[in-house]
Symmetry: D2
């Protein structure tokens, strides 16, 4: 097998798709640099997957949807990897049960890395040999798909380390310093007929669920200038907000009760002091940092308690546009793996700290039609029971955020970097 350095000559010409592909593939491994071999194996909650699985699954995607259909002498790396590393692509055949991913000690990490290298080499060769636009489309899709999994690698390993009684840190250094949160203010946004979603045919990549672009009629509303902070959310906790059913949706109250929620996922009290597990290890709770790892139910309960509400995904997108937020908005130079207070005015934390729960259930936009091949199973399959999140988080790869991006999780999910942006009706 060739080493990754021996990329064939002719590939070295400018090739943005290939470059993005290579860069993303390498980053998936590099973000795991501080992990121990043992960390790659564990699945600590059913919703999460072992890191090893993510590294293999993203590779299986290229093998199955790029190499298999376009390589004439295609031979799978291993006959069982399709079974093991398929996730929800039912068309692609039988799958290993999701809840048992943590049972697989084999293939080893080393084998998975060999799998990665081999599929990468073959993909690079294919890109060099064929300029079929469908190949390009699929490599781009696979690259974005892998970026999604990079965020999951970080949140999934956080569930593993954060549930370990030893509370080990993923990162040895201290986190970048945080600013103090500005006063919470609401900006009025005019309603009317607004365009929502991604326009087809543009150069810029977007997932199928971001379109078709369409018109939504909005009433005027106001939206908060930043995310809800730890300090603000702590008031809700201390005021008994978790114990008063009036604040909660019926299903939320059931979740809160059966899981005994009384605070965000990684908060804990240590000798009467509020602390928080982070990827930098346990830290004192910083009241200026945005609250994170709250479920939709908690975000909704907090807003209700305050007499505010969550924005719809349409309001979020429209407000961001009106406020001049662009896809590249955050501009946070320093990489942090924990959301931070931002004293700079203007940015509004639409991107880069926490995904923001919206009041919108995840469903198809008018006229949405999944592509008819197996890839079409990608996003449309999940259009029930989940809520849309907008923005991006500290764990989102740079360049992956978009104004039209629709992330989605179940309303009970708390293991992502999820936070709260408030909105209000105008009187």
């Amino acid at each position: 097998m060739e080493s990754r350095d021996q990329v064939p000559e002719k590939l070295s010409v400018l090739h943005p798709i290939r470059d993005a592909f290579l860069q993303v593939r390498q980053r998936s491994v590099s973000i795991c640099g501080s992990l121990e071999v043992e960390d790659f194996v564990v699945q600590s909650i059913p919703e999460a997957s072992p890191v090893k699985w993510h590294l293999a699954h993203t590779t299986w995607f290229f093998e199955t949807f790029v190499l298999e259909p376009f390589l004439e002498d295609f031979k799978p790396f291993h006959p069982f990897f399709g079974y093991l590393f398929n996730s929800y692509y039912h068309q692609a055949g039988e799958r290993h049960p999701r809840a048992e991913r943590g049972m697989l000690s084999r293939p080893t990490l080393e084998e998975v890395l060999r799998y990665r290298a081999q599929v990468e080499q073959a993909t690079l060769r294919l890109l060099a040999a064929r300029s079929d636009p469908e190949v390009h489309r699929r490599v781009v899709l696979g690259t974005h798909h892998e970026q999604q999994h990079q965020e999951l690698i970080l949140t999934d390993i956080k569930t593993c380390l954060g549930r370990n009684p030893l509370l080990p840190a993923l990162l040895g250094q201290d986190p970048p310093s945080a600013g103090s949160a500005p006063d919470l203010e609401y900006t009025e946004v005019a309603g009317g007929q607004v365009r929502i979603g991604a326009l087809a045919g543009l150069k810029r990549f977007h997932f199928d669920n971001e379109g078709p672009e369409h018109i939504v009629t909005l009433r005027p509303f106001s939206i908060a200038n930043r995310l809800v902070s730890n300090g603000e959310y702590l008031e809700f906790v201390l005021a008994g907000g978790y114990d008063d059913p009036v604040n909660w949706l019926s299903d939320g109250w059931t979740e809160r009760t059966s899981h005994r929620w009384s605070r965000p996922e990684y908060w804990f009290l240590d000798r009467k002091k509020w602390r928080e597990y982070t990827l930098y290890g346990p830290m004192d709770l910083d009241p200026d940092n945005p609250v994170t790892h709250v479920s939709f139910y908690e975000a909704d309960a907090y807003a209700r308690w305050l007499g505010a509400r969550l924005p719809t995904e349409f309001e979020w997108e429209h407000a961001a546009r009106c406020l001049g937020v662009t896809d590249r908005a955050p501009g946070y130079e320093d990489e942090s793996l924990h959301p931070r207070g931002r004293s700079e005015t203007g940015c509004g934390q639409f991107f880069g700290d926490c995904w923001q729960w919206t009041a919108s259930a995840y469903g198809p936009y008018p006229g949405f039609r999944p592509t008819s091949d197996a890839l079409g199973e990608y996003n449309g399959k999940f259009m029930a029971n989940q809520m849309v999140l907008r923005g991006s988080s500290c764990a989102t790869p740079a360049g992956h955020e978009r104004l039209t991006y629709r992330n989605f999780f179940y309303p009970k999910d708390r293991w992502q970097f999820t936070g709260i942006r408030l909105a209000r009706d105008l009187a």
Copy 2:
């Protein structure tokens, strides 16, 4: 205790609120006329409740929200009934666990009927004594609330009898004869900016979740002239539609697999013949009758298999209006407790046969604000994880249906009289 016949003289003047109250209260008991005492006790699935519980809970509603706040010398009928017969009104205090309602042999049916009579008498006296509009509002709300429970009484008892290996009939007689289904056709409906929801301040009652009235922008679409029939749905079953994951939402496939769905809830094969349990007992499957007792997942899978889709709740309401359907539309004189094929053209089965799953998740309309008292918990509490159903069913009390009515159930629920109306995008 006075008998129900001894209504005080002064009440006999024209009083539509009182008349509706009395009529609805009497109907709740009369629709149970063919039940055995034992039938009132059983809770056959966690989602359903014993009939006895429904009769008491609807009574508790009047006792708690009408008598307690407005009667000066109020004394509860029984100190524990608030605990036993409260449902989701958290503000009203602790509740008996829902899943254990079938464990309660006491109070007996006879005691519950005494409870009903006493609360009715007191309510009538209150209506006679006070003309407080808030009392009127609450009695009207309680009346509509009880109508909702009348439908649940019928569907809940169906789960009890339909799961009993003896397959007993609720009704002794034969069902009213059914017509043959006309050809399935699609009517084009123009899009644009349309008004959705109930206008506040009108005489006609509506639930809080039906408003505020607001503007929705629709694309043109087409909608089916009738519900999907048993015969059509059987083709899906026989074609292996339940076994091909391509047809299914991811969560739907999980449900189908864990519950081994392979056909609608009450269908069964008897010596190679398709039969269906109905409240009239087991019957041969009539291919012209609308398919019923399908979950949202099945409705969605069927539509996808066909290349069609479900309408949104906005499309449904708009189409009904465009097609001249009104609140009183069905006009089916003969009462049936099973949905039937309708050969008459025009009616379109918007009302009176099956509730129709829409593609819309149940959420608040823009500007929706629940009332701030305990009654406000009524509908808003459920605005997560459920799908909107529109129309009405054969079990809906006459006069209870409305064009703006928003029924809601979990996408997995199959015990209601739920059916399928198809829609399509225009090319």
Copy 3:
């Protein structure tokens, strides 16, 4: 159908088997005399069955094992009753799931009573017509089987009423007055080679699991003169006995933890006063009454806490014989449905108050062989995971107790009238 009074003339001759049959059959109904129709339907815990089911199942036993094989023109009362009212007799075919017995509102109580009457008539006619000893053997077996279910009817209805927040009494009157418990003393019993079990071939009925009679070698031991009292057990509760894992078997600790046991099944604290639900309704806890409704794990933990132990079933039987206890021992004239303190010395409470958990796992005696027909499934099927209880309880029908009787329940079971007799090794 003939009424029960019209017993054919020739049956009126002396016939102990028939007399016992008739008496037991009538008692099954008469002990239900104070129940409401609704009480017959409920299954409040999976281990219990609805009273209606017991009345039908005991009838099905006679129909299946007596009428069907010996009646030439046998026709089942109802083709589905075999499916519904079979319990663990696998040979007799498919069975309705045990956990769903409470879902059956039909057949109604009235139908079940008609079923009882018809099978009784046919059995009486068969007894009059045939003197086949196998028929006699089976009628006797069915009679004893029905007596077992009489005890279950009482304990099962207690779980239903005792879990109802209204805490209704089964019996209107006060319980018979109780005596004060004498001092707890231990009697030494010599060991050696002792005969255990029932001798085959005697007139007196016994179940198959009580034989063969065999020799067991015992070490000398001492045994308590009465059951452990509420007052004594309360000391264990108040001393934190439920919270110290040292007292508990590993599996017991797991049960205690997952079910949050902190006291016997029907005890509760009412304004700092210990009370107990009984079939006579809630009563103050009488410290002289034997503690009851404790699991084996609790009995074992209590004994361990005290430095004592439970007797083996062999020690129990041998001690009872040595102490002059006989099958007819209790001689309690007054019927009570609650265990009581017994001030009379000598009787020792071996019978009549609480079943006594032994340290013996339920298994076959040496040489035990179940009969080869379906009846052979009766007792041998359960010889795993259960513990033997000896003696009898206040709910055991008079005449049903025996020195060799082996009752058996799971070590976690608490809904029977189970109590504690202590033993000790001699130093």
Copy 4:
């Protein structure tokens, strides 16, 4: 930290306790020699533990029960390891939940090996410094305890690899060749009063549950000359033995049904050929090898189907003695990690191939009293719901087997090397 080679001089004198300690400690690591790091992490069934956990737990035993009480300047290796690696010793404090052992990626294998080395060094120093007999007693106990865990390491890793769809082999080489099974014959054994159990005060180590020695009265019986073979058990499978409830105990039928058992744990059909997963990888089923990985329920059902039965633990021990089997009996020079057919007559497979389910529930021998310290929790805690197994298996460390050894598992357990020896009553 000193390396293991730098053992202090004075230890080099002959010291069997120290030698056994060292040898056993080293073997725990050496039997893991062919594992990948990833294999040490996984817990594939709740009953099993990760290999890493076993290596740490056996070390925690010495740290807690030897070092902590006897070392003056004792400091734990890590303050949390007591929480993480305690198992059922409740007295020793709070424990990490058993079912979440597979969630712990940290401490890493390397840290655990450092933990082992440090505790070993300290123990060796203690042994060199103190000749306190209680220290010796505890080191010996810890050594035997660790030998038990060596067997668990092998069976637990087998559940991990055997459930992996890749079916990886633990061992690279072929298994030692197996002999052909001799004809199955029964030897008559005289009954009478026999001594059972281990005599206290002997030099030879035994666990507390093997005593006190006591007299049991046995009836004459006959016992099989070898274990039941795969070929014989396959007949039961092919005859539908798994599908006929007549063969099964009631609880066994429930297990078989809920887990869909249709063959021993590691058997599978591969293109109509019976194969078996072994630690050497998948192999064709050898009909002469003993059947293994069957639960007690299956062993009991097989015996019942054949008209035979399982021996009691007393019969097993007595028969072994009568047949001249001694503690050192097997004499199988070649180490195998799979049970094999043994053509040599005489040995009778009492040791060395499969643990043998007996008909005896696991309970205390007469007069058994657990030691009063935390070590006393060791065996007595489990005396409910489990069945005794006698003999030893191919995974039992040489020298660990004893005629009086009482192994115990739940009747549903199948992941140990468990097999079947038959017995019969004499006519």
